[in-house]
Symmetry: C2
Subunit: 246 residues, 2 copies
Amino acid sequence: LSRPALPPEIEARLVEPELAGEFSEVERLAVHAAIAQRRDVRHFIADRELDESALQRCLEAAHRAPSVGLSQPWGFVLVRDRQVRARIRESFLRCRAREAERFAPERRDHYLAHRLEGILEAPLNLCIAVDLRPGDEPVLGTTAQPEAIRASAYCAVQNLWLAARVEGIGIGWVSIVEPRVLRHELALPAGVEPVAYLCMGYPRAFRSTPMLEETGWGRRKPLASVVHPNGRWVDSVSAAPTRSRA
Amino acid sequence: LSRPALPPEIEARLVEPELAGEFSEVERLAVHAAIAQRRDVRHFIADRELDESALQRCLEAAHRAPSVGLSQPWGFVLVRDRQVRARIRESFLRCRAREAERFAPERRDHYLAHRLEGILEAPLNLCIAVDLRPGDEPVLGTTAQPEAIRASAYCAVQNLWLAARVEGIGIGWVSIVEPRVLRHELALPAGVEPVAYLCMGYPRAFRSTPMLEETGWGRRKPLASVVHPNGRWVDSVSAAPTRSRA
């Protein structure tokens, strides 16, 4: 099994566990900054292709996600074909129209004013899928919680997103699309399910705040409203209304 | 809405989008290193409490995960009570016994030889739960893919895990536990579901390779076996057997 290629200074640390524990102050802050500055990007520089080695490093990061029982159940489908992407975008438009109807009239126009995808503008679309087909034996750790397989694939999404951020690559997650269209267009076999349809490219900018906050659609909650410090869930008075309506 | 506290040098970058795009070479490599060196930890230094400010930074990182429609549907339940943890560990033992029976006799002892949790040894257990209860209006982006709510909570797990790694804190994910026990012990209301039960503490070591690879239980797949470069899923000959049996 070939070890994936990483810069030599990282590889060297991987084989010495006692050194692997040490992150410098600059390195520690870099990870917090990447997490804080990750954004859902919908505006891409249209004609700028992804750097191939940066893309490889992003895929490597996704592939290093935790996985239940070391199952690594994900697959990364790279979608460049414009006709395929155009058909997927048609599904987006159908879903958006359907979703718009669910909002009260005074919110509907606001909803429709948001740019919610960059499917054709981004140089690359990437679908992360999860392989749920049973193998020769059970996957360790999935008997009590079969959903742990899917969980692993979602962790891969977040790894990819953070790695992309420090490579200067923006990612936008399109959940407004029909899974059946993705299954068909990407030839997913029965038992392989799409978990995230992502647009990847160089962004026109990384926003300082999430778009939905910037436009007044929603607000971020204070951390304290989602922390339950005493071992029991306690519904906060402020949390529920904040979630659904800003 | 109070802005969460981050070091001033990060805060300064958050309000200047054009600077936010720049990560230095050291910072870029730090994120890749954190991703590569994250491990599922099951051996903790038993009597060492978590640094409270480091824990806050980890929770902040989790809370900065992407969320569909800015829903931030997660809750973080901190579990310190030893009796509660002991009962949760009893659930683990039941689930492990049940799972062991699913393996062929020659694999069963190997399965049982693994240490798969650090529930009582770790100074803190943390359950990330997801609030699936409907609010006053639909959550933007969930009509076609209602599972996007759960996806957001899983991304929070991965943010927490990476932030913990650079804080020198180890995390172990226990999926071998009954959700009904978690619901009961943590008083989760109907519609709030546990997504990840995590043990957090200072690790005795960060392994250079995943434990299940080190013990010969499984092997990591080469990246190429999970990348589908031409827009269509193609089953690789080597991938399926590698997943279920090393």
